[in-house]
């Protein structure tokens, strides 16, 4: 892997130079206190910049404008993080969740139908979780009743990010209520402009309304909008590749180290201690952040080695779950440390940077927001069950 990365040095320099020329230096300030519409507009603009550079969907097959090797994707992710580029967050569901399912398990017709729109910047959202199906996702109750060449879908989804912006939604719905719960679910693609779709923004703990509730009342979905077999949707929902997830977490962890940890450290140099002096000169503060820095480097090594294993075709086993735990708990721990060390001053409310991930510009609000990371994507308790049962072989 090291040789492969060395050969990519020219590409690295190209991305670095591109970032220097294209990443607006003031994008954080510009987005501070921004309304949701402004965030979406900014996200669409940034997506078009990446598209123009040819880096919008690097992990897709070559025929669809991707074809980047895993090593090239790593370099791209590292350099975008290094250059403090905005995240391509508006397109996370289309590029990393919907597309893998359609590319790997969809028909030619389905690929022709949806992939070009994704590349053109259509926004997608994900309708998986429900009020009564969170960690127990397979217990979902939204019904899709087959009526000839279409399904009639009724139910309620929640935590649907960016549903107000979305043109399409990947939806899990129950097509066989009598089958065992994992075996009665189908994976459907829902046109968000269909009659019977009602989107209501859901205000989060941070005050932002990135998530939505999605109410579906007898919405018609054509059968040809189903990916994979009827009742085979559970497996379709697990389609994303190890390498795709690995590059995403690599980019997140690089951003956490560069824009999170290093920003906390730089700021802390100015924080005033109650007894006089500055936090950056205090031995206990320095020890705390020294420890977090070590954690960030260890996490990075773990991700690097996992990516090397993926390139060599090895089995990554339970490592992705380990990395999810380490990343989210480092994030939460760091935000808590920053809040605690900043003291009372951390609690002053101020305009937030919307939807930039955890980087709201307020460490206290990032700390509140960090619970989104330890809950979403399989709560950390579920991750520990997975590790205990699948890696260590403990009984259920």
């Amino acid at each position: 892997m090291i040789e492969e990365l060395a050969a990519l040095e020219p590409f690295r320099q190209e991305v670095r130079a591109w970032c220097a020329a294209h990443v607006p230096t003031n994008w954080r300030e510009e987005q501070q206190g921004g309304e949701h519409d402004r965030y979406a507009e900014f996200g669409r603009w940034w997506g078009s910049e990446l598209r123009a550079a040819g880096w919008f969907a690097p992990h897709w097959p070559e025929e669809w404008g991707g074809g980047f090797s895993v090593a090239e994707q790593v370099v791209l992710a590292e350099e975008l993080a290094r250059g403090d580029a905005p995240r391509n967050g508006l397109y996370q569901v289309s590029l990393y969740n919907a597309a893998p399912a359609i590319i790997h398990l969809g028909s030619d017709e389905q690929r022709q139908r949806w992939l070009p729109g994704m590349l053109d910047g259509q926004v997608w959202c994900q309708g998986f979780s429900e009020p009564n199906a969170g960690s127990d996702l397979a217990g979902l109750q939204t019904r899709a009743v087959r009526e000839g060449d279409h399904y009639v879908v009724t139910g309620q989804k929640v935590w649907t990010s960016l549903a107000t912006e979305a043109d399409w939604c990947i939806l899990l719905a129950r097509t066989d209520p009598d089958a065992p719960k994992h075996k009665g679910i189908s994976y459907l693609i829902l046109d968000m402009h269909s009659p019977g779709v009602d989107v209501r923004p859901l205000r989060q703990a941070t005050g932002a309304s990135e998530f939505c509730e999605l109410f579906l009342d007898e919405v018609v979905v054509p059968v040809e909008h189903r990916i994979g077999e009827e009742n085979g949707g559970w497996n379709v929902a697990q389609t994303s590749l190890d390498s795709e997830r690995a590059v995403v977490i690599l980019e997140l962890s690089e951003r956490l180290r560069r824009n999170g940890l290093e920003a906390v450290i730089a700021e802390s140099a100015q924080w005033l201690l109650e007894g006089g002096g500055r936090a950056g000169d205090d031995a206990a503060v320095r020890e705390t952040f020294g420890a977090r820095y070590a954690e960030a480097l260890v996490l990075r090594r773990l991700i690097n080695d996992m990516i090397a294993d993926i390139i060599l075709g090895g089995d990554v086993g339970g490592t992705p779950s380990v990395i999810k735990l380490m990343y989210t708990e480092l994030l939460q721990g760091l935000m808590r440390d920053a809040t605690d060390r900043q003291g009372l001053a951390a609690h002053v409310d101020r305009p937030l940077l919307l939807s930039a991930g955890w980087e709201t510009g307020s460490w206290m609000m990032d700390y509140v927001n960090s619970y989104g990371w330890t809950i979403a994507g399989g709560s950390n308790e579920i991750m520990r069950n997975v590790i205990g049962e699948r890696v260590l072989g403990l009984p259920r």
Binding site: G290, A291, V298, M326, E381, P395
Partner: protein, 379 residues
Amino acid sequence: MQLSVDERDELRISVRRLLERASSSEAVRARLDDPVGFDAELWGQMVELGWLAIHVPEEHGGAGAGYAELAIVLHELGRQITPSPFLATAVLATRALLEADNEALRAELLPALVAGEQRASVAVTNEHGSCDVSQLSVLWEREGGGVRLRGTASFAPDVVGADTLFVAARAAHGEVALVAVEPTAPGVAIDPMAMIDRTRRLARVTFDDVVVAEEQLLCDPGPRSQSVVERLVSLGAIVVACDATGVAERVMERTAEYAKERVQFGKPIGSFQAVKHHCANMLVAVEGSRAAVRDAIDALDDPGSDLPFAAAVASSYVGPAASGVCGLSVQVHGGIGFTWEHDAHLCLKRAKLDEAWFGTPAWHRRHLADTVFPAGTPR
């Protein structure tokens, strides 16, 4: 010559096979109260199998592999909590000689160490346990071309029975020296220290006007000697992190096995999430520790690396992670894990000593902070 992935696996299997037999729980326990504290027959086998020579360059009679290969042995010694002078002789003292500018001394001593004919150790820790070179408590002053030593070094490993001791000392004006001393020389007193981890033998070494000839200096006193001593401390920190990772890995495996077998309330305790999550946390800590050690070992094999930085990352992460695994193991085992007859306490004690040895995580974290974000600088 680096080994291939397959060759490393073979080495790991052969090391594990020998140590599981020769360093079983019974064998380890047989040495707990023994003043020498290790099995001479097993030491002889290590010598014969070439473990001491793995990382020594071929021109010095070694196999010319790297620390990546040596780390396999160190990790397995941790897994079996093997009492052994391997750390002192094969790692620290060997490195001191490889770093030395004194070629005559190296030519005289290194072949004997690699061949297992002699044992050696280093004294780089001050009398209170600090490994910071500014705190060395053996003092030196010029005596002709050589030096005169006064003062005490503590926590020196496997000194009893060693033929040579490499001593780090500090002059009144702060310059550091690194000199070879025979532990039996007049004025040298060795007091074994009673340690809670009985798989280790550490000693306090006192120098009462010990005169050392110029030929026994490893390097010129001053910055050169200081940097060698600092690298020895870094090496020590990385090696104990490697040991602790081995300890924690085996402890995790045994704890998971126990959680599958032990039945309470009519079920294996591993089916209870409170226990299952303890075990999952152990795995996270072990995977993280292994990654941290791989990173640090790479730094040992890379002449251009910042070794104190690599050691600081390893110590900061692995120290509490590995000892935390051992603590959880006692907890998950419950009452049986709290008995003397169970090995859980031996592992906990060894991992906690590893954590504090060659610089505590707190000391290393401050070094890390000093490197990444120097204090008092305007931003």
